[in-house]
């Protein structure tokens, strides 16, 4: 191997570089690389400018989308709660109870026996039937309200 090392050193000393380059390659290279860097910088700054212009518009767009999404979710939530709410029924019951306590037994009988009463339905109201029922069953006014 020592002999071969010597041969390699002789080969290096005796011969020229077997590789060559195009004419004026190294003279022109610095200018070419500066141009390449300048072009890349220009493209990058253009991209940065576009991004700066577009960013606020994107932000506004996303804001609207977010607002719409929240609104739709809120409306959907309210509507679904409304349909399941028992509050309306309670209100009706309370109203009946309040109004009903102001309504006396005599009022009830007067209404049933009234001659000038307006017939809402064409069906004949058998008021005697209701009064007889109340009397026969011995149902007083307060029991009737409790039942209601």
């Amino acid at each position: 191997m020592k002999n071969f090392n010597k041969k390699l050193e002789e080969l290096k000393g005796n011969s020229n570089n077997p590789f060559s380059v195009p004419k004026d390659y190294f003279e022109e290279f610095p200018t070419r690389i500066q141009e390449k860097i300048f072009t890349e910088k220009k493209e990058l700054s253009w991209a940065v400018k576009v991004l700066q212009y577009v960013k606020p518009h994107f932000a506004l767009g996303f804001m609207f989308i977010a607002f719409a999404a929240i609104s739709i979710t809120a409306v959907d939530f309210i509507l679904s709660n409304k349909s399941n709410s028992g509050y309306g029924n309670e209100l009706f019951t309370r109203t009946i109870e309040v109004d009903a306590y102001e309504f006396t037994e005599q009022h009830f009988i007067d209404v049933l026996l009234e001659d000038k009463k307006v017939i809402i339905e064409k069906k004949e109201i058998e008021s005697d039937h209701y009064i007889n029922y109340l009397v026969n069953e011995n149902i007083d006014y307060e029991s009737l309200i409790d039942e209601l």
Binding site: M1, F4, N5, L8, L11, K12, S15, N17, P18, F19, S20, V21, P22, Y25, F26, F29, P30, R32, I33, Q34, K36, I37, E40
Partner: protein
């Protein structure tokens, strides 16, 4: 034009108004050394030109953050070496060839290359070097052609001096065997 030291070039580069001028000086100072370093790895001039441009573009982008605890030229060499190795890997993927076959391809097309003017023995030596594994080839080129010190090679290739010496020794042995077989 008197040559600036690396420190002077870096200081000049630090001044934003003189940055382009400083970079131009850096390119002129190192372009040939880096060119031949890359050329010995990838062989073809056009590929070398592309890699050399990529090397200096990366250097331009990285010089601001360059830590002055390593030498400028070892830093540049490291970029050039890594770019060359990346190129070779890409060639393998591009042509779906194992790297050894790509080296064989280079070996076969060497004499037809318009920018190769070597004689028979130089051609044989280049073909022998192309048979080496790529990192061993780089070590051989740096030691034999560029006459680089092992300490500098160690910094560039991030390998111990002992490993580099062993690698060079094995490379010479393989080249000797190639010459004997042929």
């Amino acid at each position: 034009m008197s040559e600036y030291s690396d420190k002077e070039l870096l200081d000049l580069f630090g001044d934003k108004e003189k940055r382009n001028y400083a970079f131009n000086l850096i390119v002129r100072k190192y372009q040939e050394k880096l060119y031949w370093h890359i050329r010995k790895i990838v062989i073809k001039h056009d590929d070398t030109d592309d890699i050399l441009q990529n090397t200096f573009v990366k250097a331009w982008k990285g010089l601001d953050g360059f830590r002055k605890d390593s030498k400028l030229y070892t830093w540049l060499y490291r970029i050039a070496t890594n770019e060359s190795l990346t190129f070779l890997k890409q060639q393998k993927t591009k042509y779906l060839l194992p790297i050894v076959d790509y080296e064989n391809h280079l070996s076969e097309t060497l004499e037809c290359d318009e920018y190769f003017n070597g004689d028979e023995i130089q051609s044989k030596l280049q073909k022998a070097i192309l048979q080496l594994p790529e990192k061993q080839r780089i070590v051989f080129n740096m030691k034999y052609f560029e006459e680089m010190k092992y300490d500098d090679m160690s910094e560039i290739l991030e390998t111990s001096v002992g490993a580099l010496k062993a690698s060079y020794h094995h490379a010479v042995k393989k080249i000797e065997n190639y010459f004997k077989e042929d």
